[in-house]
């Protein structure tokens, strides 16, 4: 049984688009990445899953129950971090977190809260209003993780955090998964998602454009080849008719840097006819892969 199930979920804000006809499922015990740029519909989906927004059509199920808007469906078993975490500035982090814990399940959260604060290097007894943006985000992470829940829905959990603390948050996410929780991790950062997720969905303008293992998403980007031709030889012109999908990134007197899609077979056959000094395959960064993927899906 899927822990999260969206069936033909559509949410419109009047004439404006929210999300359109989304269908996907998240398996129990999975860390699922939910990728897309700002405004692509990630937060709208999450708010529908949390029952904070009523879908225009379609349905969501969490932990086996259909989500009824405003009815706190299964919230005792869900840890949630909103994308824009804000909390009462006049109270200390501990006071606010205690209230939130009291509004949740009955299990004792004090130990867990202190443990999380230690790991995130946060003083819970300072007023939230006096905390930096990054420290306020840490309060949000504790808000989501202070209960031992079956499902975590995290909307951009590392936003505003430094790389060290981001790494700790990703570790906490992995640990939650190891202890049996299912996690929906929304982000616009493919590297972050790739670090912890096995599978991800990509949203563009409210529509799901991909649902695949991370490795496949990364693979679908362009690959690169840098060729050094033997000294004294000419760098040949790229035969566009024989090598569709291959483009020149840069070229100088003895090197050619190209990008291609699919297999390298045709490119290698072509360059085999020239005197080659060496070949390198520069890694495409995850971010580049994401951007390429996104641009390709956007079409001309």
């Amino acid at each position: 049984m899927n822990t999260i199930e969206c069936s033909a979920l559509t949410k419109r804000y009047g004439a404006a688009r929210g999300v359109e006809d989304l269908s996907f499922g998240i398996e129990e015990g999975e860390i699922f990445g939910y990728l897309g740029p700002n405004g692509s519909g990630k937060t709208t989906t999450i708010r529908c899953l949390m029952g904070l927004l009523a879908p225009t059509s379609g349905q969501c199920r969490v932990l086996g129950a259909p989500v009824v808007p405003g009815k706190a469906t299964r919230h005792a078993r869900i840890g949630y971090l909103p994308g824009d975490f804000r909390i009462w500035p006049q109270y200390t982090a501990r006071q606010s977190l205690r209230l939130m814990a009291a509004l949740g399940s009955s299990n004792d959260t004090e130990c867990r809260r202190n443990e999380l604060a230690d790991r995130l290097d946060l003083n819970l007894d300072r007023r939230v209003g006096a905390l930096s943006k990054g420290n306020r985000q840490k309060v949000g992470v504790i808000y989501a993780l202070q209960h031992r829940t079956d499902l975590l829905i995290l909307d951009e959990p590392t936003i505003g955090l430094d790389p060290l603390i981001s790494q700790i948050v990703l570790d906490l996410i992995r640990e939650a998964c190891e202890s049996g929780a299912t996690i929906l991790l929304s982000s616009h950062d493919l590297a972050e998602v790739a670090a912890v997720c096995a599978r991800a969905a990509i949203l563009r303008e409210g529509r799901l454009i991909e649902l695949a293992p991370i490795s496949q998403i990364v693979r679908q980007g362009e690959r690169r080849l840098k060729i050094w031709f033997a000294k004294g030889s000419q760098v040949p012109a790229l035969p566009a008719d024989r090598l569709p999908g291959v483009r020149v990134i840069s070229q100088d007197s003895d090197t050619l840097h190209i990008a291609y899609q699919g297999t390298a077979e045709a490119v290698l056959k072509w360059i085999a006819g020239f005197p080659i000094d060496r070949i390198a395959t520069p890694q495409t960064s995850l971010q580049e892969a994401f951007m390429q993927y996104y641009e390709r899906q956007a079409g001309p």
Binding site: R47, M50, G51, L52, L53, A54, G64, A65, P66, G70, K71, A72, T73, R74, H75, A76, I78, Y80, P82, D84, F85, R86, I87, W88, L99, M100, A102, L103, G104, S105, Y143
Partner: protein, 275 residues
């Protein structure tokens, strides 16, 4: 189980009560002291005569807004009751009635904290009930404080056996209903709009009603408009002169409270919050 119920969020209710308490305490203290001050003034015959003379020199509408023809030397009850309808007291009640729902519902939404609350085991309806309870109970508690101020004031300054406190109690209860009905309207506005719009709409409604009540009392040609104002249903002379409770007025105020509160609840539960 898909229909597991969320327990009533007592911690949220307690948290909100503690947030509102300083404002409630301040308003209650001013209202309480004001009643004692009025008793002190009314107790001094010379001072009250001078004050009534001054009132007669001012535009008639001022006297109307404080109790009209009932304000006469010797009519102790009416004079003490000034403390129940003085514009300052009205303003304080209005501040509480408008401020509490606006702070607790759209205020929490705009602060971003309603999203956190509703992401826990709290339904939208429960959050609304908490805000509604604090508004209505807070109003009645203020009215009780006002009555206690009168009780203390009349025991400090002896007005003799002719002064009966029961009409003041009736007046306080009906005043509490009026204040709660205003709170219901404020809840309806708070459930439907953003904070500033909700505040302005409720204030506009109250100011319109207040001045309509004063003008219809003062200008007989528009007297027929009196039932249109909410203040018409707290009829001072009737409360003080008749021993029976004005049940028809009570019914109107109760209906207004129930209808506005329920309408607010329906709108609140159905609309997407601007989180």
């Amino acid at each position: 189980m898909s229909n597991e119920r969320s327990p009533f969020p007592i911690p949220l209710l307690r948290f909100w009560v503690l947030r509102i308490l300083p404002a409630w305490f301040f308003i209650g203290l001013v209202i309480f002291l004001f009643q004692i001050m009025i008793c002190a003034m009314v107790h001094d015959d010379k001072r009250i005569e001078a004050w009534l003379k001054l009132l007669d020199m001012l535009p008639a509408i001022v006297k109307t807004s404080l109790g009209g023809d009932m304000l006469q030397a010797g009519n102790t009850s009416a004079l003490i009751a000034i403390g129940y309808q003085h514009p300052l007291i009205m303003l304080l009640y209005m501040l509480f009635a408008v401020g509490v729902p606006a702070t607790l519902l759209p205020g929490e939404i705009q602060k971003g904290t309603m999203e956190l609350i509703l992401a826990r085991r709290v339904t939208k309806t429960q959050a609304y009930i908490c805000a509604g309870f604090i508004t209505v109970a807070g109003m009645f508690a203020l009215v009780l404080v006002m009555f206690l101020g009168t009780v203390l004031g009349t025991s400090i300054y002896d007005f003799g056996p002719a002064l009966r406190l029961y009409p003041f109690f009736k007046s306080a209860v009906i005043g509490g209903l009026l204040a709660s009905a205003v709170g219901g309207i404020a809840l309806l506005a708070a459930a439907s709009f953003q904070r500033n719009i909700a505040v302005w709409l409720t204030v506009a409604y109250l100011v319109l009603n207040y001045f309509l009540a004063v003008f219809t009392e003062w200008w007989t040609r528009i007297k027929w408009l009196q039932p249109a104002t909410i203040f018409h249903y707290v009829d001072g002379p009737r409360i003080f002169n008749e021993s029976a409770w004005p049940l028809d007025d009570v019914a109107v105020l109760l209906s207004l409270l129930v209808v506005s509160t329920v309408a607010g609840a329906v709108i609140w539960s159905r609309r997407d919050l601007q989180l």
